[in-house]
Symmetry: C2
Subunit: 445 residues, 2 copies
């Protein structure tokens, strides 16, 4: 994915501003933080995800000759500036919440500290990476909450918004507790377990469902999951039972069956009974088709005998909330705090830390939003991951990240419509913010 | 974007089915067609987009040694099958509606004719490419309809679902009549005009708005667009007027100003008056911030003096309809028509063509959905683009595609809530479908 690392994967204004910074000799250290604004009613919390791809992007950011030639032909840049791009590197620091961290609005999920032009250029891609993976992990986490003990598999690639979205949705949902994905490339890239069954077209390519079941079983005797609904789900289940002797003859173990249409809660009961009565008590039932946390709630309430779910479109597009209002804002430049103070869009200035507090029973109680150098009680959530453009630790696998998230999920309080989790600015942060407002307003009278 | 061409960018079941087809010697020609199901109330029509990326994918599809090793380590495939992947190529035909074609539910937008395993493998990525770009082009077209004569610029990259989504949204919105994009890499890859202004952080990095305006102007004297709302939009506009002499001294032309918050319709009037009274009648006004066709409708109705719009999140995520129900279905195998005939999900069998009819005044009247070999009146919409795995024509630029779409837009009828565009199956197609149902049901009794 070379394009995913290109410095041209940015908004044009980042480059025109870079030239202006160059012309004005504005090379001092700037600090930007990314945070999410107020959550929509469909979400109570967020799950940080995508930091690994941000670090990879920052470590590999280079303008190729071809990139610079393209900008030269554009005609809006001068040679003095273009020449600086040849040796451009990201040389800054990155502090961030580890992936899998549960967080809330106004809390910085990542902080970039770097010479102004560098910190500015990377804005677009950092938001692009972190908003998407965080959105997907946050959606998948809700599904995991409804079905904590079932097999959950990402089926979303086909309706994801492009290749990267499909791959990264597999990654983000795995972090949030899914068991695996159907997307082969995501399995390869991130060592995620890969799941799969068969499609309707497989059945339709055969003259009969019987032949299709037998052919698939003979090709995958240890890994046979049969799709039942191409013609009629219950008749499909009965066919599986009728074929028991044939399967046995060819040493085929039918590990599971899949339902993909109809009233799947009712069908799962009937199919379970057909399988149990036919002596296939160990054969698992999978369900798929337009599922999300809202529909899974019904499966849960009605105790449907489904062992695993394939979750596609609605998770991979975060269909009920397909974007979040998040911003990457300058909080300091040349050692001075900076902020926006326009109504409804004001931001907290300065380098910040989040301190989390827990109740005696281990459940999260509230967070303090404080200045980085404050020594407050609680668990600090941001840690340093990059120093002077280099990672502090090599990338680690996702298994630990997933465990870290799943542990946190056990500390999540219950939410109701009235109550949002408390994120309180510290007194020192409030005082600092007021002083920044006062200074900025004075300069712009 | 190597990953975007990987044969592993697919669902695992495509590979397990391929092995089963291999084991059963099912290598005959199969035909699949991709179509969209019923549209949601927010959409009246669709705009085909993404064919170029599908052709590029099909032409370059290769399993690397590394890919095959990965599948070997997975343990669910046998050597006889894995060995066939070394020389795997897509050798089929592609018929499709050209990009920019306006189309409707049930109409095949692409047809793949290839040996069964090939046609099966590519399903996931073809849907992934075509659904997304078609969704974005269809959304952008609605914006173009509301604002046919304004400058429309894609600002969406940061909240797009990953890198590819951002790049391809720039492409799809350009096809649908946008004037350009802020995404530099999309401009480079597809020769799309690139637009940009400045960010709030640029203003905030300076001690005063005055210094920020001046520095930007000096760095980009012919390309200065100033962001007005960092502190106060009207005061920002007055500052531009006050600085007229300074700008003149440095040969700076202020081409435009940008509004990004507040009541932008009212503000655009006030800012226009301030600029006009200050002698800057030629300075353009741009607006951005959470815009889509619904909010632009108000700008239009109230005749707001805005010359151009930056359209971001809601277009690039197609926020009101972030996915479509579309399917890639087998319509023929071994010379026999195939279909699904389950309730509400039935599909039309056979290789099909769409014939479009126009009224005397040139406006589209209705489409016939027919078998490919029928000779009906009307304009056929599907054409052949690939033969035996090779493109018939080299890729052409987007300018012609954009013109083709814009011409069609002039032939679009007006829609109202009650009336949907008529897509009528031909009598021959209906008869054929019935015969296919009859045969398939007989075989599965």
């Amino acid at each position: 994915m070379r394009h995913s690392l290109s410095p041209l994967l940015t908004d044009f204004y980042q480059l025109t501003m870079m030239q202006a910074y160059h012309d004005s000799d504005m090379h001092e250290e700037a600090v930007f933080e990314l945070f999410f604004r107020k959550l929509p009613p469909e979400r109570d919390y967020l799950v940080a995800c995508g930091l690994e791809q941000v670090l990879e992007y920052l470590e590999n950011l280079r303008f190729s000759e071809d990139d610079i030639d393209f900008l030269r032909r554009d005609g809006r840049f001068h040679e003095r500036f273009l020449n600086t791009l040849v040796d451009f590197r990201f040389t800054g620091d990155v502090h961030a919440m580890p992936e899998g961290t549960i967080f809330f609005p106004d809390e910085p999920v990542i902080r970039i500290t770097a010479p102004l032009a560098q910190a500015q250029l990377v804005e677009t891609r950092i938001i692009n990476i972190l908003m998407f993976q965080t959105m997907i992990a946050s959606k998948a986490a809700r599904i995991k909450q409804v079905m904590p003990d079932k097999i959950l598999v990402d089926y979303g690639l086909r309706r994801a918004h492009g290749a990267e979205a499909g791959i990264m949705a597999a990654r983000a949902s795995y972090v949030a507790g899914f068991n695996g994905t159907a997307t082969v490339l995501a399995g390869k890239l991130f060592d995620i377990p890969i799941f799969g069954t068969m499609a309707h077209s497989f059945i339709q390519a055969h003259d009969s469902e019987h032949d299709a079941f037998l052919h698939f079983g003979m090709s995958h005797p240890q890994n046979t999951i049969l799709l039942l609904d191409t013609y009629d789900t219950e008749k499909g289940a009965m066919k599986v039972i009728e074929m028991a002797e044939e399967f046995k003859k060819h040493n085929i173990t039918v590990r599971g069956v899949r339902l993909d249409s109809g009233d799947m809660i009712e069908l799962s009961r009937r199919v379970r009974k057909i399988l149990d009565d036919g002596g296939m008590k160990d054969t698992l039932i999978f369900a798929s088709g337009n599922l999300d946390e809202y529909s899974l709630e019904s499966f849960h309430r009605q105790n449907a005998p489904v062992d695993g779910f394939g979750i596609g479109t609605k998770m991979t597009t975060s269909a009920d909330v397909p974007y979040f209002d998040c911003a990457y804002k300058m909080v300091e430049y040349k050692g001075l705090g900076r902020r926006k103070f326009s109504k409804g869009k004001s931001t907290w200035p300065g380098r910040k830390q989040v301190f989390r507090h827990f109740r005696n029973d281990g459940i999260m109680s509230d967070d303090s939003l404080a200045l980085e150098n404050e020594q407050l009680s609680g668990t600090p959530l941001l840690h340093q991951h990059m120093r002077s453009g280099s990672r502090i630790e090599p990338p680690s696998g996702l298994a630990g990240t997933r465990e870290y998230f799943l542990h946190q999920l056990t500390t999540l309080p219950s939410f109701d419509r009235e109550k949002i989790y408390a994120v309180k600015p510290s007194p020192a942060l409030q005082t600092f913010a007021d002083s920044v407002t006062e200074r900025m307003q004075r300069n712009n009278r």
